[in-house]
Amino acid sequence: MKIAIIDYGMGNIHSVAKALELFGAAISVTNKKSEIAACSKIVLPGVGAFDDAMAELEKQGLDLVIKEQIKNKKPFLGICLGLQLLLETSQEAKDKKGLGIFKGAVVKFRAQSGQKIPHMGWNNLKVIAGDCPLLKGVVSGSQVYFCHSYYPEPLDKSVIAATTDYGLEFPCVLWKENVYGVQFHPEKSQAVGLKMLENFVNLC
């Protein structure tokens, strides 16, 4: 069993790789389509701008392989921008569409009631889907590290597995069958985040 971490030049893969290795996973950091297809699970990390990231995926043909592998029911985890790319559109995007795995848009926090943007730091999770395999052993009130200005707004509310309150309650974990997306950084969220990555490694 091997986990592919898609390396498409959008930052920050060392912590994710190392954290998954802690739980016995063999890791392949790769941008090769055949290698991604050969792995049994896939992680899409990402830091940066939506358009740049999507352009990079398309340029390397990775958008197609991601869609195909998700269709094949391979466990898939999108982190931060890697989650946002799973939606259909983003307010950050000028000309790019997302992968459209989740129906809905990525929207920007509005400056309301003195909330600062970006939403940066440690905030509480509210677990909505207690049966979500990624959140096994993670309780409401656990804190995880956020660093973002945009958040996902899926049309189908049943895919929302956890939320966080920042002036408004926004979805921070999406889950549909084999696809998971987290808006925070589990690889930077110490024990709570590591628990989720352990859960991902242990998914059947």
Binding site: G9, S15, V47, K116, C147
Partner: protein, 251 residues
């Protein structure tokens, strides 16, 4: 609710921690990874690594250090010191840092803020401001606090935010090293001026200083160096004190 953050800051030279971090029980108190682990165990919310050598030869050392930290510490950290261009920023972020901190170069070349925010997202671009009181206002200094710029700190903070900075790391040069507390007035003025998080820095000496900078000045995070390095207080003690006084912190 978003927690207030406590951030130890480590000065790095040639890949090693300087300013004598005196942790009992550390095999190598000069090893940034060892020190970071110790702060992780104390419940630090983030770390800032400031490369004080910042010469070209040291860039590679720094990038490999960042990679080593990211492989070992599962908490967010910021890297600053001598970052000159988009390439430097990309290398440090790709190596695993959550954020980069720009100071002198951002003043000299403000377009660097907008270009890097556009490329990597505002959330990973911190603008560090070293400010010194001058009459009724504060002046920005660069080159490690050696060179006055004539620029007003409040105006600069506002401009940096407008250009796309995701956070301001605000150091009071007047308070730095005094242990008389953070500069509450400066911090408050900047925090009110910008709609991005403000990290207060310079002057932490007592537990109450942390409370004041959050409760009175509206800082989002508080940074300290020697207070933690010399174990006058642990991060845990600071957080327990804040929690008792009703400040939201991560436990």
């Amino acid at each position: 609710m978003l927690s207030k953050r406590i951030i130890p800051c480590l000065d790095i030279k040639d890949g090693r921690v300087v300013k004598g971090v005196k942790f009992l029980g550390l095999r190598d108190a000069g090893d940034p990874v060892e020190v970071a682990r110790a702060y992780d165990a104390q419940g630090a919310d983030e770390l800032v690594f400031l490369d004080i050598t910042a010469s070209f030869e040291n860039r590679k050392t720094l990038v490999s250090l960042v990679e080593r930290i990211a492989r070992n510490i599962f908490m967010p950290f910021t890297v600053g010191g001598g970052i000159g261009d988009i390439g430097d920023i990309r290398n440090i972020l790709n190596a695993g840092a959550e954020k980069v901190s720009l100071n002198t170069q951002a003043v000299k070349l403000p377009e660097l803020i907008s270009a890097s925010a556009k490329r990597f997202g505002s959330q990973c671009i911190v603008v560090a401001i070293d400010a010194k009181r001058k009459g009724d206002s504060w002046e920005v200094f660069i080159n490690g606090g050696r060179t006055p710029t004539g620029i007003d700190a409040l105006a600069w903070a506002e401009k940096a935010a407008r250009l796309g900075a995701g956070e301001i790391l605000l150091t009071s040069m007047d308070h730095d090293g005094t242990k008389d507390g953070y500069d509450l007035e400066l911090t408050k003025r900047v925090a009110q001026k910008v709609n991005i998080p403000v990290i207060a820095s310079g002057g932490a000496g007592k537990l109450d200083d942390f409370y004041n900078v959050f409760a009175q000045a509206g800082a989002d995070a508080a940074l300290a160096a020697s207070l933690f390095h010399y174990q006058e207080y642990s991060v845990k003690q600071v957080k327990e004190y804040l929690k008792e006084r009703g400040v939201a912190v991560r436990s």
